[in-house]
Symmetry: none
C-alpha cells in the first residue's frame, strides 16, 4: 500500500519535503474528514495516511481546526473549478440555466471523481456545523443561492414575490441535497439504484423537470396566500 505522501513525493519534480508533506496532509485530511467528519477524525490517522509525523499537523497548520478549514476551502474551490455554475448569461434560456445549475450542483456534491468528498463535508457541516460554516456560507453557499434566485426570477412570472422565489429555491436545493445527505438511507431503500454518472444525469433531468413544472403551476396560480380558499384544512395540534 502506498501512502499519500509517497505518491506526492514521487510525482512532484521538486520533491521539496516541506511542501510535499503539507500537500500529503491536505490530501489525507480531505479523505479522513469526508469519511468521519471533523470531530471524529484524529490527527494521528491523518498523519499516518500522509506518512507524516504526529506533530506534522500542528507544525504545518497550527491545529486540527485550521487544517480542517483549509481542507474545506480547498475542496470547495476544487469542486467549483471542476463543475462550475453556469454563467449568468441572459441569452441562455432560464430553463437551460436551471438545468445547468442543477447538474453542476449535483456533480459538485456527488460526482465520483471528487469521491464525493466535498458533498460529504458539506453535509456534515450542515448537520453538525463547525466554526468553518460561516465562511463557507459567505464564500460558497450564498453566492450559489443568489445565482439560483436570479435564475428563478427569470423563470417565474412577474408578480412572483421574493418569498415565493426563496421557497422555490429551497425546494430545488432540497431536492438536490437529498441525494447527498440521505445517501445511506437511499442505498438501503433502493439497493439496486446506482450512484454513478448516468444516475446523476437522470437526477438532473428529473429535478429540473419537476421544478420547472412546479414553477409553471405556481406562476399560474398566483400568490400563495390567496390560493385554494376551498380547502378545509385541519390545523395541526398545538
Amino acid at each position: 500500500m502506498s501512502t499519500t505522501r509517497q505518491r506526492v513525493r514521487e510525482s512532484g519534480a521538486d520533491a521539496g519535503s516541506h511542501d510535499a508533506t503539507r500537500r500529503a496532509l491536505l490530501d489525507a485530511a480531505a479523505d479522513v474528514f469526508a469519511e468521519v467528519g471533523f470531530r471524529q477524525a484524529t490527527i494521528r490517522d491523518i498523519c499516518k495516511r500522509a506518512a507524516a509525523n504526529v506533530a506534522a499537523v500542528n507544525y504545518h497548520f497550527g491545529d486540527k481546526e485550521t487544517l480542517y478549514a483549509e481542507v474545506l476551502t480547498e475542496q470547495s474551490r476544487l469542486a467549483m473549478r471542476l463543475h462550475p455554475s453556469p454563467p449568468d448569461d441572459p441569452a441562455v434560456p432560464a430553463a437551460i440555466r436551471l438545468e445547468q445549475f442543477v447538474r453542476s450542483f449535483l456533480q459538485r456534491v456527488l460526482s465520483a471523481e471528487l469521491s464525493a468528498r466535498h458533498g460529504r463535508m458539506m453535509a456534515r457541516e450542515m448537520v453538525d456545523p463547525t466554526r468553518a460554516l460561516d465562511r463557507l456560507v459567505k464564500e460558497s453557499i450564498r453566492p450559489n443561492a443568489l445565482q439560483l434566485s436570479s435564475i428563478l426570477r427569470d423563470l417565474a412570472g412577474q408578480g412572483t414575490t421574493e418569498e415565493v422565489l426563496r421557497l422555490a429555491g429551497m425546494s430545488i436545493v432540497g431536492q438536490i441535497l437529498f441525494y447527498c445527505h440521505c445517501q445511506p438511507v437511499v442505498r438501503r431503500l433502493f439497493p439496486e439504484s446506482p450512484y454513478d454518472a448516468g444516475q446523476l444525469e437522470q437526477l438532473t433531468r428529473h429535478i429540473t423537470d419537476f421544478s420547472l413544472s412546479a414553477l409553471r403551476g405556481l406562476s399560474a396560480s398566483g400568490s400563495p396566500s390567496r390560493r385554494r380558499p376551498q380547502t378545509k384544512r385541519r390545523r395541526a395540534r398545538t
Copy 2:
C-alpha cells in the same frame, strides 16, 4: 440550574419512583444526542444532566449504544404519536392526503414542542449513520416511504412508471428534510425567517403546492426518457 432528574422527580406524583432515574437518563440523553450526536455525546454529560451517577447508564441500559437506540426509538414513536401520518383513506382526495403527509412530516422533524430532537437525530443518523440506522429504516422510514408512494400513485396519471413515482417521492421528501438538515445554513442565509408553527404551516403549503404543481406537469408530459428531444444538453465531463 435544575437538572432533568429533579424536574422528573418533582413533577411526578410518585416522585422517587423506582425508575425515575431511567426516565431522567432517557430525557437527558435525548437532549445530548440531538445536540451533539451519538459519537460526540459523553455518558458523563448525560448522567450529569440527569443528576445520576456515571455508572447509571451502564446499569440501566448496558452501554451507550443501547441507550442511544432506545432514545432513538422513543423519540421516533413520540414524534409519530404527536404527529401521525394521515390515514390511508381512499375517500380523502390524494392532494389532501399529500398535504397532511407533508404537514405531519414537517412537524415530526421540526416542531418546537419536540425540540426538533427527533429531526436532528434523524439528520445525524443519515449523514453519519450508526448501527441503529438499519432498524430506523425498517421500522420508520420505509413505512413512511411506502405511504408516500401510495399517495403519489393516486395523484399521478395511470401511465406513470414506478421510477417516476420514486423520484417524485424523493423530491418531496428532499424538500421537507431540507429545512431539517440545513437549518444552520437557512438561519444564516435568512436570519429574519423564523422556525415557528406559522412557518411550518407556510412550508407545508408551499411544499404541497410546489409538488402538486410539479406532478400535474409531469403527468401531462409523459415518460421522462422520451421528453424534450429538442434540448441540446452538454454531457457532464467524465
Copy 3:
C-alpha cells in the same frame, strides 16, 4: 440452561429461600473462584450463576473475601472427606502408607469429580496468596505435611536428619503438585496425555516408586553434607 439455584431449590425438600440462595452462592462461587481466582472473580458473575441478586453475596457473607474463605474451607473439607489421607496405622507398611498418601493427595487436587476445584484454588492460593492462606496452612496443609513427615520417618533409616526428611517431603509434594500447578504447560507439552482417573493411578505409582527408590538410595548414602566428596562442583555465580 438451569442455574445452580434452580437446581438447589428443586432438589431441596425444604425450599427455604434463604438457605437455598446461600447454598447456590457457595456452589457458584466455587466454580468461579476455581476458574478465575479470587481477584479476577466478580460478585456479579457469581450472583448471576446463582440466580441471586447482586447484593446477595454482601447480604449472606458480608463481603467477597469472606465468601471466598468460606468456599475455600468448604472445598478443602469436601476434598478431604472424599479422599482422606490414610490413617496413621503403624501396622500398615510405610511404603503402602506413602502410596496411599500420594494417591489421596493427587485425587484431592486433580480428580474430575471435584472438577479439580480444590486443586485449582490451592494452586492459586500458593502463587497469589490471599489472607485465607494462613488459615489454610494451619488447618489443612500443615497437618498433611506432618503426616508425610511421619511416614517418611518410618521409611528412612535411623540416622536420617529432620532436614533430610523435610527435603524429601518437599520433593514428594513437589512431584504431586506439579501436575496440579503446571497443568496448562503439561497439556501443551504432551497433548496426547489425558488427565483422567487412569492417569491419576499411573501418576500415583510413578511418584511412589520414584520416591521410595530415592529414599532407599538416600538412606544408604548417609547424611547430605558429607556425601560425594569426589564431585568437583562449580559454584554458582553470586
Copy 4:
C-alpha cells in the same frame, strides 16, 4: 522514594537518552507483573513507578498485553543469560549434567539477583495462563524439557521407555518448581529456612541426589507396568 526512571537516568552515562522511559517502563513492569500478575497489574501503577505518564505504556508498547509479553521475554532471556543450562556435552557425565541442570533451573527461577521475577512470572503463567504462555512454551519451556530428556536418557538404563523418562522428568521439574510455586507456603511451614544462595545450593544437591537415587532404583526394577506384582494395592474409589 526514588523511582525506577530516576535510577535509570542517573545510572546511565547517556542519561535522558531517547528510550530511558522505555527502559524504566520495562523495569517497573517487571516488578509489578511479578508482584501481582498480569491481570491485577495496572498501567497506572507501572507508569507511576517508572515516573512516566499514564499514556507512556500505550505510546511505547501499544497496550498492556504487549508490554507484558515483552517483559516476559526479556526476563526469560535475562534469566537464561545469567544462569544458562549446561551444554549438552557427552564428555561430561550425565549425573553432573543433571546437577548443573537443576542448579541453573533453580537459580533462574529463585535467585535473589533476579528478584525471582522470572520465577514468579512463570508460576503465574502456569496457574493463570495468559496468551503469552504459548510462546513461552515454545521458546523456553519445551527446549528445557528436551534437554532434561536428553540427560535422563543418558542416565537411565537402555530399556527405559520414553514414558518413564517423561515421568521422571516431571518428577525432577516438579521438585524444582515446588520451591518457586509454593514459596508462600514453605515460608509459613518453615519460617527459619532461608531462601538465599546457600539454600539454593543445598536444594540443588538434594534434588540431584534424590533424583539420581530414584533413577538408579527405577532402572533396576524394570518397566513400570510389570513391576511389584506382589503389592496388594487398594484401588482408589471412583
